[in-house]
């Protein structure tokens, strides 16, 4: 190397690394959770309304998610096709009007072909969608796509709507793993952080099974991540904040018996998480959902068995996860009608601004079921 080239290259190293240090200084500092909102006025009359969504155009459906719209309606998403993992699987949507207690006809918002064209890469199948809102109030839809292999080959994509889900911008691929960016999936609700970034619960299924919290900026790029667990037995985290700094996360368990829902906690806004502990609630290696009701208890929707998904229950915790009691059964042997295939799974739970609680779940693998209820029903009134 000539002396001139040598010193020129050293000067280039100095310049480039100065820029790297400046960029590292700009990395987003730790942010806090946005504290849950104040309590909504409670209705004394028990409310309980179950109904199946009008999703008859596909034989197989799964993994429902939803977000409340600005006009108080609810927009749900799920994936459907001839079977899970088929090339014709698309992401569908429908809107629920609380006044009419009715869902609109379904329509597809993302197909495999459209994803392939927009992402400029081969896409073999689509999977779990997850809805949320960014700091600008725009509706966000994260969804899983696979280019090679099974679900362990998944990557997460994000698309954003400026008009409450009527139309969508092109999807963007999130990069969250150094290994071909495979094996990152979503199931839990994204949370808005105090600095406007989103905390997206994600999980990995390739070699290990563990959860992470991805930090996604306003342009839909992963700008940080925190590990929630590690190893081979925990997945599908659902994070429930109680204050700006305190939260718990519930996880599906895929390890040795006894099969229980896993729980972890943070007291420093997600910078550090405790080791997973088994709760008293069973878990047949199935997704769970949880929400902290405004001014009230923590509610979980879960399969109340260790071996099957033939029943779906609601559990309440008034001490933020220290103890639980099963409050209601949404599905089970004694409850009619039963699905042709008695599997009730992948619950999604949320509370709307009026205080009503919505649960969406896969009903017999062929339909999405919606149940809306209030605290009066949950805590003992009515059916």
């Amino acid at each position: 190397m000539s002396a001139r080239l040598k010193w020129t290259s050293l000067a280039t190293i100095a310049l480039v690394f100065a820029a790297l240090y400046l960029r590292a200084l700009e990395a987003p500092p730790p942010a806090r959770f946005v504290a849950p909102r104040a309590a909504a006025p409670a209705s004394a009359r028990p409310l309980y309304q179950p109904q199946l969504l009008p999703n008859g155009s596909t034989q197989s459906v799964h993994s429902a998610t939803a977000a409340e719209l600005k006009d108080g309606k609810l927009r749900a998403f799920w994936y459907g096709g001839t079977r899970e993992g088929a090339a014709d699987v698309a992401i569908y949507t429908s809107v629920y009007s609380p006044k009419e207690a009715r869902w609109s006809p379904e329509r597809a918002v993302m197909t495999r072909e459209l994803a392939q064209r927009s992402l400029q890469r081969h896409v073999r199948k689509l999977g779990n969608p997850v809805a949320g809102r960014d700091r600008g109030g725009r509706l966000c839809l994260f969804f899983v796509s696979v280019s090679v292999g099974g679900w362990a080959g998944s990557a997460i994509n994000l698309m954003v709507s400026e008009d409450e889900g009527e139309t969508w911008g092109p999807p963007r691929r999130l990069v969250a793993s150094p290994f071909f960016n495979i094996s990152t999936l979503v199931k839990g609700v994204p949370l808005l952080l105090s600095d406007g970034t989103l905390a997206l619960p994600a999980y990995h299924e390739f070699l290990g099974k563990f959860g992470e919290l991805l930090r996604v900026d306003g342009e839909g790029r992963v700008v940080g991540k925190t590990r929630l667990s590690w190893g081979k037995s925990s997945l599908q985290p659902v994070v429930v904040p109680r204050s700006e700094t305190e939260a718990l996360a519930l996880m599906r368990y895929a390890g040795d018996p006894p099969a229980r829902i896993l729980m972890i906690r943070t007291r420093d806004a997600g910078a550090h998480w405790s080791e997973p502990v088994k709760t008293a609630l069973p878990n047949p290696n199935a997704a769970v959902a949880g929400v902290l009701l405004a001014g009230g208890p923590l509610v979980l929707a879960f399969n109340n068995a260790e071996e099957n998904r033939e029943g779906l229950s609601l559990a309440l915790s008034s001490d933020f996860g220290e103890t639980f009691r099963v409050a209601r059964n949404l599905e089970g042997e004694a409850l009619l009608p039963r699905a042709p295939v008695p599997e009730y799974s992948y619950p999604w739970i949320m509370q709307d601004r009026a205080g009503d609680v919505h649960v969406l779940y896969t009903w017999g693998r062929s339909r999405i079921k919606h149940v809306v209820f209030n605290r009066a029903w949950l805590e003992g009134g009515g059916r």
């Binding site: 190397m1 040598k6 290259s9 050293l10 280039t12 190293i13 480039v16 690394f17 820029a19 790297l20 240090y21 960029r23 590292a24 200084l25 700009e26 990395a27 072909e113 392939q116 064209r117 400029q120 890469r121 081969h122 896409v123 073999r124 280019s147 090679v148 963007r172 691929r173 990069v175 793993s177 150094p178 290994f179 071909f180 960016n181 990995h204 390739f206 070699l207 290990g208 099974k209 563990f210 992470e212 790029r221 992963v222 700008v223 940080g224 991540k225 925190t226 590990r227 590690w230 190893g231 081979k232």
Partner: protein, 202 residues
């Protein structure tokens, strides 16, 4: 922009692989360029919705600076019959990539609670470690290592990758797998020759 860079990178890899598989160096000089031009058309022109480069990108994601440098080097050699980088420089790069791979992948795939991949979002410690490695390479006259690190860093700063993680511009599983395979083969050969020498002495 990220789509364009990603597709060009995967296309370059396809061109280098095609040049190796077709044994391009056996062709007359001018024919090599004609063949590679034809391969480039096949790789980049979409068939239906997607080009071959797009199909490869679906499986590999965006390729890191070492993979692109090695692919460019292989393509250059097959086209011109000359080498772009000295063997010593390539070996140093492969050694660095293999070491980084052994540090990164087992932990990033959930082996323990420690996740080195998270350092790639702007950790001062990571940037400092990279600076030290780059200065060592500069001091040892390893131009290729210095070039690859600077190219990866500039790509990260310029935001031309889908990923905002510095690791993704510096390493990918293709470069890691190639580096580990080459080093294992070299180690194996060395071991065998040492045993033969000992046997001859006995």
């Amino acid at each position: 922009m990220t789509n364009l860079v990603g597709l060009l990178g995967c296309g370059l890899l396809c061109l280098a692989l095609a040049a190796s598989v077709l044994r391009l160096q056996a062709f007359p000089a001018q024919a090599r360029y004609v063949v590679e031009l034809a391969v480039a058309l096949a790789v980049f022109v979409p068939i239906g919705d997607l080009s071959i480069a797009g199909t490869v990108r679906g499986a590999t994601g965006d390729l890191s600076a070492p993979t692109l440098a090695l692919a460019a080097s292989a393509l250059f050699s097959r086209l011109t019959g000359r080498t772009l980088f000295e063997r010593r420089e390539v070996d140093a790069l492969l050694g660095l990539v293999a070491g980084a791979a052994l540090f990164l992948y087992p932990f990033a795939l959930g082996w323990t609670a420690f996740d080195p991949y998270a350092l790639g979002y702007g950790s001062m410690a990571f940037v400092t470690a990279l600076l030290l490695a780059t200065l060592l390479a500069w001091w040892a006259g390893l131009k290729l290592v210095v070039f690859v690190v600077l190219a990866g860093a500039l790509a990260w700063l310029g935001g031309v990758y889908e990923s905002r993680n510095l690791w993704d511009t510096l390493i990918d599983p293709l470069a890691a797998g190639y580096a580990l395979a080459v080093l294992l083969m070299k180690g194996g050969k060395k071991l065998i020759s040492q045993r033969r020498e000992r046997a001859a002495v006995v």
